[in-house]
C-alpha cells in the first residue's frame, strides 16, 4: 500500500541505496583484486604507477621470490602447526568446561563459574608484561608452545558450548544414566556428538584467531626459523619505505605474501559461512 502511494520516491530511494551499496562493495573488493593482480605481475610492472586490476603480463616472479628468497614456507608451516594444535586443544578443553557448567550442582560450582567467566574482563594486551615474565620462567621463551598455550581456553567458547549443551534434551542423558553410564560416557557419547554445530563454530573462530595471531609471536619469538606467518609478513609487507632506503623486495612479492595468508581464511569462510553468523550472534548475547 505504502509502496504504491510513494512509488517514485521509493524507486529513487532504492536506486540510490543500491548505488551506494555497489560503491561500498567495490571499496571492499577493489583492494583485494588489486592485491591479487599485483601479486601476479612481473617485478618491473609491480613498480609502475598504474591502476592494476589484472596483471598485464601474468607472471609468478613474485611468488618465486616469496618461496625462494623470502622462504615463506617455514613461517607458513609454523603457522599451520600452531593453528592446528591450538584449535584442537581449544575445542577439547572448552567443550569439557562448557559441559561442566551445565551440570546441576556440585561442590564449588559457583567458584568454577567465577573462575571461568572472569578472564573475559582481562584483555591479553594489558597483561603482556607479566605473561612475558611467566613464559620466561616456564622456559617457553622462543617456542611455538608459548603462542599455543596462552590462548587455549577462552570464556567465549566455553559459554558458547554451554549454551549448545543446554539445548540438548535432558531425557537422553537421563536414560543413559539409568543404563549406568557415567559423566564421561554422557559427555563423549551423548553431548559431544549432538553439539557438532557448536563445535564447528568454535573451531572456526579459534582457527581464524590463531591463524591471525600477531602479538604473541611478537612477544615470544626471536629466532627467524620459529617465525609464524604474521610475524614474517610484518617485515615483508610493511616495509618501512619512508624511513629505510633498502626496499629489497618488489611489490609483487609483498602482495603475494598477503595472498598466501588470505587463502586459508577465504577457504574456511566459503565453506563455513553460516557458523560465522551463528558465532557472532552468540558472542554478542553472551559478552
Amino acid at each position: 500500500m505504502a509502496i504504491r502511494r510513494t512509488s517514485t520516491e521509493r524507486w529513487l530511494f532504492l536506486i540510490i541505496n543500491n548505488l551506494f551499496l555497489i560503491f561500498l562493495v567495490l571499496t571492499m573488493i577493489i583492494p583485494l583484486i588489486n592485491v591479487l593482480a599485483v601479486s601476479f605481475t612481473t617485478d618491473l610492472e609491480s613498480y609502475e604507477n598504474t591502476i592494476k586490476l589484472y596483471p598485464r603480463e601474468p607472471s609468478i616472479e613474485g611468488y618465486i621470490t616469496l618461496f625462494q628468497r623470502v622462504a615463506i614456507m617455514r613461517p607458513f608451516l609454523n603457522n599451520v602447526f600452531v593453528t592446528v594444535i591450538a584449535t584442537f586443544l581449544h575445542v577439547m578443553f572448552c567443550s569439557m568446561a562448557g559441559y561442566v557448567l551445565t551440570r546441576k550442582s556440585f561442590l564449588g560450582k559457583a567458584i568454577v563459574i567465577a573462575l571461568v567467566t572472569l578472564p573475559n574482563m582481562v584483555p591479553f594486551e594489558m597483561i603482556i608484561i607479566p605473561v612475558y615474565v611467566t613464559i620466561k620462567r616456564l622456559g617457553l621463551m622462543d617456542t611455538l608452545w608459548a603462542i599455543i598455550l596462552i590462548k587455549v581456553v577462552t570464556t567465549f567458547s566455553i559459554l558458547l558450548m554451554k549454551n549448545y549443551f543446554e539445548g540438548i534434551p535432558k531425557s537422553l542423558e537421563e536414560s543413559a544414566f539409568i543404563d549406568g553410564a557415567g559423566e564421561m560416557t554422557s559427555f563423549f557419547k551423548i553431548y559431544l556428538p549432538l553439539a557438532k554445530p557448536g563445535l564447528a563454530t568454535i573451531v572456526i573462530f579459534q582457527f581464524v584467531s590463531q591463524w591471525n595471531h600477531l602479538l604473541p609471536a611478537v612477544l615470544f619469538i626471536n629466532s627467524p626459523e620459529k617465525y609464524t606467518l604474521q610475524l614474517a609478513l610484518k617485515s615483508l609487507v610493511v616495509s618501512q619505505e619512508l624511513t629505510s632506503t633498502t626496499q629489497s623486495v618488489a611489490n609483487n612479492t609483498r602482495m603475494g605474501g598477503i595472498v598466501i595468508a588470505i587463502i586459508p581464511l577465504v577457504i574456511v569462510y566459503i565453506f563455513a559461512q553460516k557458523y560465522f553468523i551463528k558465532g557472532i550472534m552468540v558472542g554478542a548475547v553472551k559478552e
Binding site: 500500500m1 505504502a2 510513494t6 541505496n17 551499496l21 562493495v25 571492499m28 583492494p31 583485494l32 592485491v35 609502475e48 604507477n49 591502476i51 592494476k52 578443553f93 569439557m96 561442566v100 556440585f106 568454577v112 573462575l115 571461568v116 578472564p119 582481562v122 584483555p123 594489558m126 597483561i127 603482556i128 608484561i129 607479566p130 612475558y132 615474565v133 611467566t134 620466561k136 598455550l149 587455549v152 581456553v153 559423566e183 591471525n212 600477531l214 602479538l215 609478513l233 610484518k234 609487507v237 610493511v238 618501512q240 619512508l242 624511513t243 611489490n251 609483498r254 598477503i258 595468508a261 588470505i262 581464511l265 569462510y269 560465522f276 553468523i277 557472532i280 550472534m281 554478542a284 559478552e287
Partner: protein, 341 residues
C-alpha cells in the same frame, strides 16, 4: 527401623476395642506394614548410598573435565594479573633481586609527557572507534535491509564481512600499499587526473583519519551482520500494522526498526568500549616514525617501554592503571545502559 516397628506394635496394642476375631486381622495388617516399611527403608538406604557414591564418582569426573581450563586460566590469566600488580611496585629485573619501590613507577608514569601523549592518542582513536563502528554499521544494516534482490543482498553481506577475517598485518599491508606513492592504486588514480602523488602515510594530518578509517573498513561488516540479524528478529506484524496505518519506509525505519535496534546498539557500544583502550596490532603494523607522535597508543608504549627497553616495572604500572580504567569504564557503561550479562 526398630522404632517404626515399635510404633506399629504400640498402635496395635493401643487399639481401643479389641474385638474378638478381628485381632488376627489387625496383626496381619501390621506384619504386612512392617514388611513393606522394612523393604521400602532398605531400598531407600541402598539407593542413597549408591546415589552418593555415584555422585562422588561423577563429581570427580566433573573436576577432571574442568581442570585443564582452570589450570590454564590460573597460569596465564590470574597469576599474571596478580604478578603484574606486584611487578608494578618493583624495580623489576630478571637477574638478581627486584627492589620494592612503592609507588615510584606510578609517579614516574604520570610525570612522563610521553605517557600523556600516547594516552591522548588512545582516547582520540578509541572514542572515534567506539562511536563510528557502532553507528556506521547500523546505518549500513538499515540500508542493506531495504535491498529486495536476495542474491545481491547475500553477496554484499558476504563481501563486507570479509575484511573482518583478515589479520591486522594483512589489512595494514593492503592499505599501506594502496596509499603508497610507490605504485599504490590511490596515487595511480590521482595521476590519471594529473595530480601529484601524496605521501599519505607520511603526513601527520592524515594519520589519525587513516587509522580510524581503516579500522572502520575492517570492523564494519562484522557489526553490520549483528544488526542485520536483530532486524531479522523484529516481529513482522509491527511492520504490517505500520503499513496499514500508511507509514512510509522512512517512518517505519524511525519508529520501528531503530527503536527495536537500541538494545543491539547498546551491546555493540559496550563491546567497542571494552576494546577501545586495547588497540595494539593495528598501530604496531601501520605506524612509522613520521606519524608516530599522532598515533602511538598506550599498549604499544607499554610494549616498547617494557619489553624492548626493559623498563618492566614502569610499563607494568601503566598496564595496571589502564586495566583498572578499562574495568571502571566498562562497569560504568554497563550501569549507564542498564545492560545485564
Amino acid at each position: 527401623m526398630s522404632t517404626s516397628r515399635g510404633e506399629v506394635t504400640i498402635a496395635i496394642n493401643a487399639c481401643p476395642v479389641p474385638i474378638a476375631g478381628q485381632a488376627h486381622y489387625y496383626e496381619d495388617i501390621a506384619i504386612f506394614l512392617l514388611v513393606a516399611i522394612e523393604n521400602c527403608d532398605m531400598q531407600d538406604k541402598m539407593k542413597t548410598t549408591s546415589v552418593l557414591l555415584q555422585k562422588l564418582k561423577r563429581t570427580r569426573v566433573i573436576y577432571l573435565l574442568i581442570l585443564p581450563t582452570i589450570v590454564l586460566f590460573v597460569i596465564f590469566t590470574y597469576f599474571p594479573l596478580i604478578d603484574g600488580l606486584r611487578i608494578s611496585f618493583q624495580d623489576f629485573r630478571f637477574i638478581g633481586e627486584s627492589r620494592f619501590v612503592g609507588l615510584q613507577n606510578y609517579v614516574e608514569a604520570i610525570r612522563t609527557p610521553g605517557f600523556w601523549r600516547v594516552f591522548r592518542n588512545t582516547v582520540i582513536l578509541g572514542f572515534s572507534n567506539v562511536v563510528l563502528t557502532a553507528f556506521v554499521p547500523m546505518l549500513l544494516a538499515l540500508l542493506l535491509n531495504e535491498v529486495r534482490f536476495k542474491a545481491w543482498k547475500r553477496f554484499s553481506q558476504t563481501i563486507i564481512y570479509m575484511p573482518y577475517l583478515f589479520s591486522w598485518v594483512i589489512v595494514g599491508g593492503i592499505w599501506i600499499f594502496m596509499l603508497s606513492p610507490n605504485a599504490g592504486i590511490i596515487n595511480a588514480a590521482r595521476s590519471l587526473f594529473g595530480l601529484e602523488p601524496v605521501y599519505f602515510m607520511a603526513k601527520e594530518a592524515y594519520a589519525r583519519p587513516i587509522i580510524i578509517g581503516v579500522n572502520l573498513w575492517k570492523q564494519s561488516g562484522y557489526i553490520c551482520i549483528l544488526f542485520l540479524a536483530s532486524i531479522a528478529g523484529i516481529n513482522p506484524e509491527l511492520y504490517e500494522a505500520a503499513m496499514i496505518d500508511g507509514a512510509g519506509g522512512l517512518k517505519r525505519a524511525f519508529y520501528i526498526t531503530i527503536p527495536e535496534l537500541l538494545r543491539t546498539l547498546q551491546v555493540v557500544l559496550l563491546l567497542n568500549i571494552m576494546g577501545a583502550l586495547r588497540i595494539f596490532d593495528q598501530i604496531y603494523v601501520m605506524r612509522n616514525e613520521v606519524i608516530a607522535q599522532k598515533i602511538d597508543v598506550i599498549m604499544y608504549y607499554v610494549y616498547v617501554r617494557g619489553l624492548v627497553q626493559f623498563k618492566i616495572g614502569y610499563a607494568s604500572a601503566i598496564a595496571v592503571m589502564i586495566f583498572l580504567l578499562t574495568l571502571i569504564i566498562t562497569l560504568l557503561a554497563k550501569r549507564l545502559i542498564r545492560y545485564t550479562v
